[in-house]
C-alpha cells in the first residue's frame, strides 16, 4: 500500500470536449486510493498534456474523451510524448469508446481502455499491476 504514494497520475481532458464528470470522479477516486493525482482541467492540447506529464514526472496518463475524437487525439499525444522522451509513461483512456476502436487504441500503445460502468477500484488495480510489470 505504501508504494501507492509514489504513483503519480495525470488525468487529462484533451480537445474541446467539456464533459468532465468521468475525469473528476476518477481523479477523486484514485486520490482516495492513495495515488498522487494531477487533473489538467479542460481543453488541453496533446502537446500541453505531454509536456505536463514529463515535467511532473508522472507514471500514468489517463485521457478522458467523450467527443469521438479519441483516435486523433491519442495518436497526437503518443507523438508528443515520443518527442519528449515520455513514451514509457503508462497511457490509459476512458470515455465513450466504441468497441471497434478499443483494439486500434491498444495498437497505438494504450495499455488499457475503460468505458462507462468501470469501478475506479478496477482502474486502480490495473495501474498497480501494470506499473509492477514495467518495473
Amino acid at each position: 500500500m505504501t508504494d501507492n504514494a509514489k504513483i503519480r497520475v495525470l488525468i487529462a481532458k484533451p480537445g474541446l470536449d467539456g464533459h468532465e464528470r468521468g475525469a473528476r470522479v476518477i481523479a477523486y477516486g484514485l486520490r482516495d486510493a492513495g495515488f498522487e493525482v494531477i487533473y489538467t482541467g479542460l481543453r488541453q492540447t496533446p502537446a500541453q498534456i505531454a509536456s505536463a506529464a514529463v515535467q511532473e514526472d508522472v507514471d500514468v496518463i489517463g485521457l478522458s474523451i467523450l467527443s469521438g475524437a479519441h483516435l486523433a487525439l491519442t495518436k497526437q499525444l503518443k507523438e508528443q510524448l515520443a518527442a519528449r522522451k515520455g513514451e514509457d509513461i503508462l497511457l490509459i483512456v476512458g470515455g465513450i469508446i466504441p468497441e471497434n476502436d478499443i483494439d486500434t487504441l491498444k495498437q497505438m500503445g494504450v495499455a488499457g481502455v475503460f468505458t462507462a460502468g468501470t469501478p475506479v477500484s478496477q482502474v486502480a488495480d490495473f495501474i498497480r499491476q501494470n506499473l509492477q510489470k514495467a518495473a
Partner: protein, 595 residues
C-alpha cells in the same frame, strides 16, 4: 407556522380526526411493524407509509392549485396541444422526429455547412421538413474557427462547423418557398458565441428581404450552466452575462417572436448534481438572466414569457422525479411572482418540451437492451407530470455510435404504448393530494431553496461559479454516487449485481442509419479550412479590420449593446473567431478554479 396551520384546517373536526389517525398509526406500528422488525432483526423498516398526519395543515389552493393556475404545481395547462391532437396524430401516423412547418426537425449537424445542407435536402425529399435544429461542432461552440490549432480533430465532428456568415447561409439554402425562414422555426444549440449566431440569423433575414421580426426559433443561450457543467465557455461569467443582456435586448426589440433562451439543469444533473443542486443551480441561473433583463430596463412580464427550458435532469427514482417536476414548477412560479413581481402567468411557467426522464447517465453499457425498460420508467414519470410520456433515450445511447433505427423505433413505440394504451395522461397531476407525493414535493423544494439561499449569500450564481463552489459541489456529488455504486449501497443491474455467467447477454440487430457519411466526416476539416482560407482572401479585409476595431472599442463600454456591431461584423464576413477574439481581448477568458 402553527397559526397558519390552524387557519388552513380542512374542516372544523380535523383536529379530532387527526388525533384518531395518530392513535391508529401508533397501534399499527406497535402491532404490525414492531413484531416484524424483531423477526427480521431490523432497527427500522426500509419502507414508509404516509397518512393525513404528514399533511396536517397543508393548503391545497396555495401549494398545489389547479393545472394552469399559480403556483402551477399541478401543471402548466389543463389541455396541451399534443393531448388534444393525440387521436389525430395516431390516425395519421405522425412522426415527431420529422418535424413539420410548425416545428423544428431532428437535432443534428455534421461536417461542413454544405455537407449538412445536403443532408437536410435529403431529409426534405423524404418529407421531413422541420426547421433547422442545429448542432454546432465544439470549435464553433468554443468560439474558434476551423483553422485554429485548438480545433484540430474537432471540425464537423459533434455538429456542423460555422466559421462565417457564408457557412450559416449555406445551411439555409434549401429553406425557401414553403420552408422560407419566416415560415419555419430554427433552434441553435450554442451558448458562448450565441450572439454571433443570432446576428447571423438576423443578417440572413435582411439579405432575403424578410423582417427579422418574422423569425421564430430558440437559441440555447444559457451560458451559465456551461461554467457549472459541459464546459463550452469562453469569457468569465460577468462579461458572459453582459452578452446575454445584449442578446436579450436585441431580441425583444428586433426579433420579438424568437425565444430568448433554453435553460435547464439537465447538463448540471448529468454532470453529477443531486436533484436539489440541479433545481437550485438552474433556478439561480434563471434569476441571473432575469436580473440582467430587469437591469436593462425591460419589463419582466414581457421578456420572461420568452424564456424557455430544455430540461432538468432525471434519474431512475421515479417518485422523486415526479415530485421534482412539481417542485420545480412551484419554485419557478413563486420566484417570478414574489421576487420579480411578475403578474403575467405566461412568464411564470417553465416552458419545456419534456418533463421527467431518467437522464442518459442512468443508462448502462452493460446489457444495453435493459435501457429500454429504464427509459420507459422515465416515460411513465413524464406521463404523470403533464407531458407526453416520452421514453428517452433510445436503449443504445451509451454505445456512442449514434442511435440505431431499431432503438429509435422501440423508443417511439414505447412512448406510443404509454400514450395510447394505458390512459396515463388522461388525468392531470394524478399525484395531486397524495400524502406521500405532496410531502416529497415539499422536501425537494425545501432542499433546493436552502441551496439557493446559500448561493444568494455567496453573492449569486456568478460568485458561486467564480469561486468554483458549484463545480466542486457537483463533482463531489458525482464521486459520492460512484462510491455508493462501488460499495453496492446503490444497485445497478448488470453493473454491480446480477453479473454472473448465469446471466444472458441479449442482443438484437442494430442498424445505424448512415445519417452522417463517414467519408465526408473524414475530409470535413480539410475542406472547411480550405473554404475559410478562400473566404478570407476574397473579402474586404480593410472593412473587417475597421469593424473589429469598432466592436473592440464598444466592448469596453459595458453600457453599449454589442449586437448591432456584431451584426455589422457578420455581414462583412468577419469570422466567428475574429469576433470572439476581439471580445477575448477585452473580457479575458474564464479560468476554472482548481478541483
Amino acid at each position: 407556522m402553527k397559526e397558519d396551520k390552524k387557519k388552513d384546517r380542512l374542516c372544523p373536526h380535523e383536529e379530532q380526526y387527526l388525533e384518531k389517525v395518530a392513535k391508529a398509526r401508533e397501534q399499527w406500528e406497535e402491532k404490525l411493524i414492531a413484531p416484524r422488525l424483531k423477526r427480521f432483526n431490523l432497527e427500522k423498516p426500509n419502507t414508509s407509509f404516509y397518512t393525513p398526519l404528514d399533511r396536517a395543515g397543508s393548503n391545497f389552493l396555495e401549494n398545489v392549485g389547479f393545472p394552469g393556475l399559480y403556483p402551477f404545481t399541478a401543471g402548466n395547462s389543463p389541455l396541451e396541444f399534443w393531448k388534444v391532437h393525440a387521436r389525430l396524430a395516431a390516425e395519421m401516423g405522425f412522426r415527431p422526429d420529422w418535424g413539420g412547418t410548425r416545428g423544428v426537425g431532428k437535432y443534428g449537424g455534421f461536417g461542413t455547412a454544405g455537407d449538412y445542407r445536403d443532408y437536410l435536402i435529403r431529409m426534405h425529399s423524404m418529407g421531413r421538413k422541420g426547421g433547422p435544429n442545429i448542432a454546432f461542432d465544439l470549435a464553433t461552440q468554443c468560439g474558434l474557427d476551423s483553422d485554429s490549432e485548438q480545433a484540430l480533430g474537432e471540425v464537423g465532428r459533434v455538429g456542423v462547423a460555422i466559421d462565417c456568415f457564408q457557412d450559416f447561409a449555406t445551411i439555409y439554402e434549401p429553406y425557401t418557398g414553403e420552408l422560407e425562414i419566416d415560415k419555419v422555426p430554427s433552434n441553435f444549440t450554442i451558448n458562448a458565441p450565441c450572439c454571433v449566431i443570432i446576428a447571423m440569423y438576423a443578417v440572413l433575414a435582411k439579405k432575403r428581404g424578410i423582417s427579422p421580426a418574422a423569425l421564430r426559433g430558440t437559441p440555447q443561450n444559457d451560458i451559465l450552466k456551461e461554467f457549472i457543467a459541459r464546459g463550452t465557455y469562453i469569457y468569465p461569467p460577468g462579461p458572459s452575462l453582459r452578452l446575454f443582456r445584449d442578446s436579450l435586448v436585441f431580441l425583444r426589440e428586433k426579433m420579438p417572436l424568437l425565444n430568448v433562451n433554453s435553460m435547464g439543469g439537465y447538463h448540471i444533473r448529468e454532470a453529477g448534481a443531486t436533484r436539489e443542486q440541479d433545481l437550485a443551480f438552474s433556478m439561480a441561473n434563471a434569476a441571473a438572466y432575469l436580473e440582467a433583463g430587469v437591469e436593462a430596463g425591460l419589463d419582466v412580464n414581457d421578456f420572461a414569457a420568452l424564456f424557455t427550458f430544455n430540461a432538468f435532469g432525471g434519474s431512475m427514482e421515479m417518485y422523486h422525479e415526479i415530485a421534482f417536476q412539481r417542485a420545480a414548477r412551484r419554485v419557478y412560479a413563486r420566484m417570478l411572482k414574489e421576487q420579480f413581481g411578475t403578474t403575467n402567468p405566461k412568464a411564470m411557467i417553465i416552458r419545456q418540451p419534456i418533463t421527467a426522464h431518467i437522464g442518459c447517465s442512468s443508462t448502462t453499457l452493460q446489457r444495453p437492451l435493459n435501457n429500454w425498460i429504464r427509459a420507459a420508467v422515465g416515460g411513465i414519470a413524464a406521463g404523470m407530470t403533464g407531458a407526453i410520456p416520452g421514453v428517452f433515450p433510445p436503449f443504445d445511447e451509451p454505445l456512442g455510435l449514434g442511435h440505431s433505427i431499431e432503438a429509435t423505433q422501440m423508443q417511439f413505440d414505447a412512448t406510443r404504448i404509454l400514450l395510447y394504451e394505458t390512459g396515463i395522461t388522461d388525468v392531470l397531476d394524478p399525484w395531486a393530494g397524495s400524502y406521500f407525493m405532496e410531502t416529497l414535493t415539499d422536501e425537494i423544494e425545501a432542499g433546493a431553496l436552502a441551496e439557493m439561499d446559500k448561493i444568494n449569500q455567496m453573492g449569486g450564481t456568478v460568485a458561486a461559479i467564480e469561486s468554483g463552489y458549484m463545480q466542486k459541489a457537483i463533482a463531489k456529488s458525482a464521486y459520492e454516487k460512484q462510491k455508493r455504486i462501488e460499495a453496492r449501497q446503490d444497485f445497478v443491474v448488470g453493473v454491480n449485481c446480477f453479473t454472473s455467467e448465469l446471466e444472458l447477454e441479449v442482443s438484437i440487430n442494430r442498424d445505424v442509419e448512415p445519417t452522417y457519411d463517414p467519408a465526408l466526416m473524414a475530409t470535413a476539416e480539410e475542406r472547411q479550412v480550405e473554404s475559410l482560407k478562400k473566404m478570407k482572401a476574397s473579402r474586404d479585409n480593410k472593412a473587417v479590420a475597421s469593424l473589429l476595431n469598432t466592436l473592440k472599442a464598444h466592448a469596453k463600454d459595458k453600457d453599449k449593446n454589442l449586437m448591432p456591431d456584431i451584426c455589422d461584423c457578420v455581414e462583412n464576413h468577419c469570422t466567428l473567431q475574429e469576433i470572439c477574439d476581439v471580445m477575448r481581448e477585452v473580457f479575458g477568458e474564464f479560468k476554472q478554479a482548481k478541483l
